[in-house]
């Protein structure tokens, strides 16, 4: 029933790398994620999603340090970050990657 993930074990993973998941159709284009990402990983796309918003896309995923700030700030629960080592595939139905559309 707990919803949280096991905390990162920061001793072992020295410089964590994150993989960003963007749930495009849930995004409302507020740009919080882009604006507040400490590593400038994201950028707004010029495409529209079905609701008519511009979602973000991942500019340089390698720079992502998996700080989860984008995830926490996103008011739409439309973006989240996983540790690259742990997880590489996304759910294609729900979780798209904008760059693959553009």
């Amino acid at each position: 029933m707990k919803f949280w993930r096991t905390p990162l074990d920061s001793d072992r993973v020295k410089v964590p790398h994150g993989r960003i998941h963007i749930i495009v159709e849930r995004c409302k284009g507020c740009a919080y994620c882009v604006e507040f990402c400490p590593r400038d990983v994201l950028e707004m796309s010029t495409e529209y999603n079905q609701k008519g918003y511009h979602p973000p896309y991942v500019k340089v995923e390698d720079d992502c340090v998996n700080c989860r700030l984008c995830e926490l700030l996103c008011p739409e629960f439309a973006i989240f970050c996983t540790l690259k080592e742990e997880e590489e595939v996304g759910n294609k139905e729900e979780v798209g990657h904008v760059e693959s559309r553009s």
Binding site: K28, Y32, P75, E76, F77, A78, N91
Partner: protein, 295 residues
């Protein structure tokens, strides 16, 4: 999920949210979703049994929070989240009861419940999202709107002095009072967790952009700009005297933890008084695991 992949594939909030209701109804760039994340972060920190946490909202954009959070969640009438929560808490003191609602709901129509619950030190945590306006109904002036604010019912600018919520809470008896902006996400989460750990009436105010109505009417840019503005325009002063944390358009918003003190809760007071008076005849209330009243 059909392919049985580990849950990391999903947004981690999915465990706490009613995903069948997402996307939510909140506007693009509204800070409410972010505030919910702060609450989630606090729960992550607390590691309480989520089955024992209840959330109660009144009516408003913020009032919709209860509808998205996958706890036992109650969407009461406008202004009445606190008495509803009081009933929950008193009938089963083992529950942790959180009220998550808007400034209009809690401080305008619900003001009386707010001050009395604070006075009684009812063991509730109140998360009050202050967007300086009645958003859900289309942007009317709230008792928190700064002087001069343009609202749909003050088209020529607000002329009523607003409440300073931390001061109101403190002067009525709240034991824990903090204020943050929505962008102070981790600090907000920490305060919520502290508040929930603290027995008694605790209040966390979150200053939050309403992009569609408040920002637009008052030409404060879009939600992103307003979010940044609140954050940049705030100064952290832990322990500031709540009298001094009024908010207006000009001066910086003082944020921080203002009050953290101890007072017996309503149930403590009850148990002490009854034990003193009735001795053996009285069995302290809510101390044993919740009694099930289904007889």
């Amino acid at each position: 999920m059909s392919n049985g992949k580990p849950s990391e594939e999903h947004h981690p909030m999915e465990a706490l949210l009613r995903m069948d209701r997402i996307p939510h109804i909140w506007c693009s760039t509204c800070g409410l979703g972010t505030s919910v994340s702060a609450f989630a972060l606090a729960l992550e920190d607390l590691q309480y049994d989520l089955d024992k946490i209840c959330i109660v909202s009144g009516i408003g954009c913020t009032g919709r929070v209860a509808g998205y959070v996958k706890l036992d969640s109650f969407h009461a009438t406008h202004g009445r989240a606190i008495p509803f929560a009081t009933g929950l808490k008193l009938a089963n003191p083992q529950l942790k009861v959180v009220v998550f609602s808007g400034d209009g709901d809690l401080i305008a129509i619900g003001g009386n419940h707010f001050i009395h619950a604070a006075r009684r030190n009812m063991d509730l945590t109140v998360i009050c999202v202050n967007n300086f306006i009645y958003a859900m109904t289309g942007g009317q002036v709230a008792p928190t709107s700064p002087l001069g604010a343009s609202c749909s019912t003050t088209p020529y600018g607000n002329y009523e002095r607003p409440f300073n919520i931390p001061h109101l809470a403190e002067s009525c008896g709240a034991v824990y009072v903090a204020r943050w902006t929505a962008l102070h996400l981790r600090r907000t989460a920490k305060s919520i967790a502290e508040a929930m750990r603290k027995p008694g009436f605790s209040v966390v105010e979150i200053i939050c952009p309403c992009s569609t109505l408040y920002a637009r009417r008052n030409r404060l840019g879009d939600g992103l700009e307003l979010m940044k503005f609140y954050h940049e325009n705030s100064i952290i002063k832990h322990g500031a005297d709540p009298r001094d944390v009024d908010i207006d358009f000009q001066s910086p918003i003082v944020v921080g933890k203002f009050v953290d003190r101890d007072r017996p809760t309503f149930i403590d007071g009850y148990n002490r008084a009854m034990t003193a008076k009735l001795g053996e005849k009285f069995e302290p209330y809510g101390v044993a695991p919740a009694e099930v009243h289904d007889g």
